[in-house]
Structures are given as C-alpha cells and as structure tokens.
Assembly symmetry: C2
Homo-oligomer: 314 residues x 2
Amino acid sequence: MSYIYSNIIGSFLIDDELNITKEELFKSLDDYKNKEKFEKKLAKKSPKAKRLNKKQLTKVLVHFKEKKYFNEYYKRNLEITKKAIRKAVNVDNLILQTISNVNDLDKTSNVLVKRLRDWYNLTFPELDKAIGDHEKYAELVATKTKKELLKDLGIKEEDSMGAKLEKQDQDEIKLLAVEAYSLYKLRKAHEVYLKKLMEKHCPNLLEICGVTIGAKLFEHAKTLRHLALLPSSTIQLLGAEKALFRHIKTGAPPPKYGVIFTHPLVQRAWRKDQGRVARSLASKISIAVRVDFFKGEFIGDKLKKELETKFRRK
Amino acid sequence: MSYIYSNIIGSFLIDDELNITKEELFKSLDDYKNKEKFEKKLAKKSPKAKRLNKKQLTKVLVHFKEKKYFNEYYKRNLEITKKAIRKAVNVDNLILQTISNVNDLDKTSNVLVKRLRDWYNLTFPELDKAIGDHEKYAELVATKTKKELLKDLGIKEEDSMGAKLEKQDQDEIKLLAVEAYSLYKLRKAHEVYLKKLMEKHCPNLLEICGVTIGAKLFEHAKTLRHLALLPSSTIQLLGAEKALFRHIKTGAPPPKYGVIFTHPLVQRAWRKDQGRVARSLASKISIAVRVDFFKGEFIGDKLKKELETKFRRK
C-alpha cells in the first residue's frame, strides 16, 4: 500500500509506515498550481497509490518539521501569506481610508481655524464677526493683507479695534492661515478622489445617494459586501443606533431614519411622510448596492427616477 | 455760585440750578488731555467757580443725554474704548497664542500622521514598523517614492507585503503626507518665533528655563505679570495641581515639582535631591520673572550659574 500527498513544497510518495519514499520538489509556488503533473509522475511508479486520510495526514506532517523540509516549507508559507495580504487590499480599504481622512481633516482644520480666529482677533476682531464660514476665513487671512480686508469690509484703519502688530507677528499668523486653508483644499481634493473611487466601485450607490451619504453608509458597513448583505431596514437605520437602542431599552419611539435623513428626497418630504420616503429610499439603496457588489449594470438613474416620480410633491 | 465741570466732550460752566451756562467743546480727544487750559478760560469769566460734588454731578450728567451732546459723547466714548482695547493687546497675548497653537499643531499633526500610517500601510506596511518617529515618517512619505524607500530599507519589492496601488491612489496618500509634514514645519517656525518673543519679553526666564518649560509656565500663569506675582512655591508646583489637590484632600504625599520637573537640573539630580533642586530652581525662576516684569537687567546667566554651581554633581 502506498499513498500520494502534495503540499506547497512538493509531491510525495508515502509508504505503509507513513515514511516518505519518493519526492518531487516544486521549484516555486507556480508548480503547486500544477501539482497534478507531479502527482501523475509519481503515480506512474506506483499506480495504486491512494490519498491519505486525516489521521494518517497528521502523522505524515511531522516529517516536514525536519530540517530538510522545514526551511523551504516556512519560506513558501510566508510567501503565500504575503501574497494573500497583498491581495486583501481592495477598493473598500481605499474608500474607507479616504472617508476617515476626510473626517480627520474636518476635525483638524476646525481646530486650527478656531486658533487662527483667536489669534487674528488680536489685530482684526471685526473680521471674525463678518466671516462666519471657517474655510472662507482661512482663505481670506491666507491670501489678503489686513489693509485689503479692511477695505473690503469698508472699515477705516483707525476705526478697527485691533492692535497694530509688527510684520513678523502678522507673518506668523499668516503661516497658520495658509496651513489651515491648505487643509481645506486637501479635503476637496480627497472628495474628488473619493467620488472617482465610488464611480468605479459602486456607481449605483453613488447615483442614488451622492458622495456624502454614500460615504457615510460605507463608513458604517465597512465593506461593500457587508453593505450589500444588510437588509434594507438596517440600511434605513444606519447611523441611528443610539435612538434604536433607546427604543429597545426604554420603549421610546423608534427612529425612522439614520444617515439617509439628510438625503434631499427625505428632506423635501412633508414631516409626516419622511418615514415612508426613508423606507422606500433604503430599499432602493439596498437594490443599488447589491447590483454594485455583483458588478451588475448601471441602474442607478432608473432607481432614482422611480423614487422621484413616486414622491413628487403634488 | 457757579461750578466748573469737564468731561470728554468739553469743559462747562454750570450755574446754581445746575444748568449749563457756558461751554468750551473739545475738538478731539487730545484736547481732553489739556482740559486745564479750557477750564482756565472758563475760570476767567467766573473766578470763584467750584468743582461739583457727587450729588450735583449726577444731576448735571442728565444734560448729556440730550441730543445736542449725546452723539458726540457716545462717539468719543467709543473711541476711548477702542483705543483701550487696541492697547490691551501685548506680547503676553502673542506668546500665549503661539504656545496654544504649538499645542494645537501637535495634536492635529498626530491625528493626520496616524491616518497617514493607516493608509500607507495598505501599500507599504514595512515602513510603519521601521520608522517610529511621526515627523520622520511624514517627511519620508512626502519626499520619497515607495521604490526609493524600499531601497533605503533594503527590502526587495516582491518581498513587501503591501498591495500595489495605482498612481492616482498613491498620489492621494502623498498629498496627505505633504500636508502633515508641513504642519511639523509650521510648528518649528512657531517655536523659533516663540523664542524670539521670549528673548525680548522675558529673557531671564528663557535663559533659566529654555523655551519649552518657559512656555509651559507662561501657559499656566497666562501673563508675565501674574507669573511675577506668584510665590516661588507656587511656581514650583505649577502643573502639579492634580497631585496637590489629591494631597490636600486625601493626605497623599505632596508633589515636589510641576512642569519644572523636566528641567535638566532636576532631571540630573539624584532622586532624593530632586525636591530640593526643584525648590531652588523655582526660587531662581521667581527672581528671574520679576526682573523680567520690571524690565530689569539681564541676570539670567548669573542665576543659572549659581544653580549649576550649587548642584554640581560631586
């Protein structure tokens, strides 16, 4: 009785006492893919060779702890693992990283602009009140001088309540403004990139939800696969976990929508209809994501139109 | 009987029934500084004129609510306030803002580099382990290609566990790296600026403590004036408030030092001496800050030498 057994380093002929009698070592992992070829070679020599059963296998594996095989065994395994890790990176990861980074940039640029406002207020408190938008504020301080800004606001220089700072002090503030502003610019670049990724990876989801909501759904589900597997009722409530658990725990009214609440269709609906719209929207999203996951056709525009027709305001 | 009274809009002659009979209006706030000149003019006409007492004053002030005076009164007051606000900005504010901003930059650059590491790990996980320093990491990713970095680390491209990303994906990561790295550069620029400010504003404190500890003391005290008014025992414990209150509340051992713990002199001392060194250091800091506040001579080098001689390790 003899057996044939193959692993990543070669094909082996094994005798009754479970010792290796013949071996055909692979030169590289590519050979492993064609292991049948090597097994045939061995089978010619003992045509009645069988496969090992589980119990025998564990005994045979002990041979590969020997020095003769172990190094090669270890190396090949490492190679396989590396390949697997390399392959594990997919568009999901890229999208997720980009979304997280956009969130991080939001936070950090907010911190820096608040500091900028505080600092620039020493010399120009009027600008703080005049410009509410953080990004605009950073842009103005980064690109214009105080004189120009005073002129734009129609304030005479002697009327400003700000202190006169020396040039080097102003320069320092400007450096911060430039930095903060470029964080905003980076955020925009990331958004364009994110949209491109989504256009390729999940065009239907993008069409129905837009970048912002699509990204948020993605963030909750982590992968497109997971998002595609979720029931539409879960998609409807993604992002409303707190309210959902409050409902379960205390019997408070259940939430009607999660992150999709900011979708234009839900926003445009009458208050009493919003739950109904959210439910329909979630079901269409669910369809879209599944089509995306299985690389189906582009039906986003059709789905969107159906929703819009259904909920057109009379 | 008649009275003379001046305020920011003019000098007035006032009769028995507390009505204004004569006025010398000021043309600008500068005249208010020379109000004696105007009062003399009025005094010529009624040499026996007295000052108003408090009770009469409140009655006279009612006149200035009239349209005739009010506009001018309001305008001048606003002008004075603005001037006061403008003057209230001093080097203390600039130093404090810069310190806070350096802290903010530390936080934000940390957030961004962590995200950068996470993201770049998809394509180059080996670099994360090889480079522990956040700033260095950002610099490398910002300035070098993956190929160059692989070569520097002595890793063959096919051995890397990272996925191969397309150029546009890599570019996006690089944008983030450039941004994060420039936050570090901004932090350095701010530190140079901070040192310059302190050299002018508190050279003695700077000499004894260096920028970092000096800035931290400043942060706790908010102004140089306040820091100069603090007893040296408080300076010794600035930054150890938590331990101090724990001591007061629970009777735990009292803290021996606050932010000055990181001072080289304290660090270099034997553990049992550190409290003693901190006490001496705090007293010298206290002297230095007071000299700084009253714009005295530069004695920082002398004070520092005294400390170093006293605590030289035998």
